[in-house]
Amino acid sequence: MENQEFISYFVFQSTFMDSQNPSLETLQDIKRMMERSSRFISLSGLSGLSAGICALLGAYIAHGWIDEYYHGNIALSILKWQLVILALVVLAVALTSSLYFTWRKAKKNSLPVWDRSSRKLLINLAIPLAAGGLFVGGLIYHNEGRLVAAGTLVFYGLALVNASKYTLSEIRYVGILEILLGIVSMYYAEDGLYFWALGFGLIHIVYGIIMWWKYDKK
């Protein structure tokens, strides 16, 4: 090992003008190690895309149910539970599909899925997200359903901003967008579902396509 390195430096000296530059390679190695150890880079663009599609489908179903409610076909107490269950199902499907595409990308690049960087990413994502979940639970408990979209968007945005230090840095901008969208939606509480579809659906899809284009397309 040591010998090999000595030789590589030696070779470098004697072929000083050669385009094959070992110090450049070493620097690239250092950069790669720094990135791999501090950021989870296997996040796939397709994960964003699939999560966005799940959210749009969910919003579409919810829209239909809310319409039924306005036509007097469903009681509010039932609608409330239907929407909560729908939201949880959408969350589960979106998470599963996102994890699948990310797992696939990690496997393809033969990188570990569960390591220091993914652990850090998950913890830092989970703290604001759990706070948001409990907060929104409180809103529902107090019959403030109108503010659920705003609450989920703001807390999700904060979670992304917080997690962006541990994965692709573009996530930070998605987070800021979600926060802004959530705050604006506070003032249009009746249109919460549209804001929700925009934030969790469209933004994810656009982000997913851009990321796929930038990092995954081969």
Partner: protein, 99 residues
């Protein structure tokens, strides 16, 4: 002309030690198993390089416990940071020298 590899730190000649320094320069504290996983090494191989870096004063070792299991974590020292950034600078200068 100055010897272009004169400023390169001999300690970082090894890819493994260079890898450890790269990781510790961007992370506050990393435990043994994470280093092993990141560098794709065996226990013994990594341990000897860590001892070398510790003896040179470039990294600090903290022995702690998670439950009953020992959890040894490593972090970079001030002099380690200085030495490593000088090494990177030397590498950069060599590239500029080539151009």
């Amino acid at each position: 002309m100055k010897n272009p590899i004169g400023n390169l730190n001999k300690v970082f000649d090894s890819r493994i030690r260079m890898g450890v320094m790269s990781i510790l320069s961007v992370n506050d504290e990393v435990n043994f198993n994470d280093l092993k996983q990141l560098l794709e090494l065996t226990d013994g191989n990594l341990a000897s390089h860590l001892i070398n870096l510790e003896e040179n004063g470039y990294i600090k070792v903290h022995k702690g416990f998670v439950g009953r299991k020992t959890n040894t974590t490593y972090s970079i020292t001030k002099s380690g940071e200085k030495a490593f950034s000088e090494h990177i600078e030397a590498l950069e200068n060599m590239i500029r020298g080539v151009k």
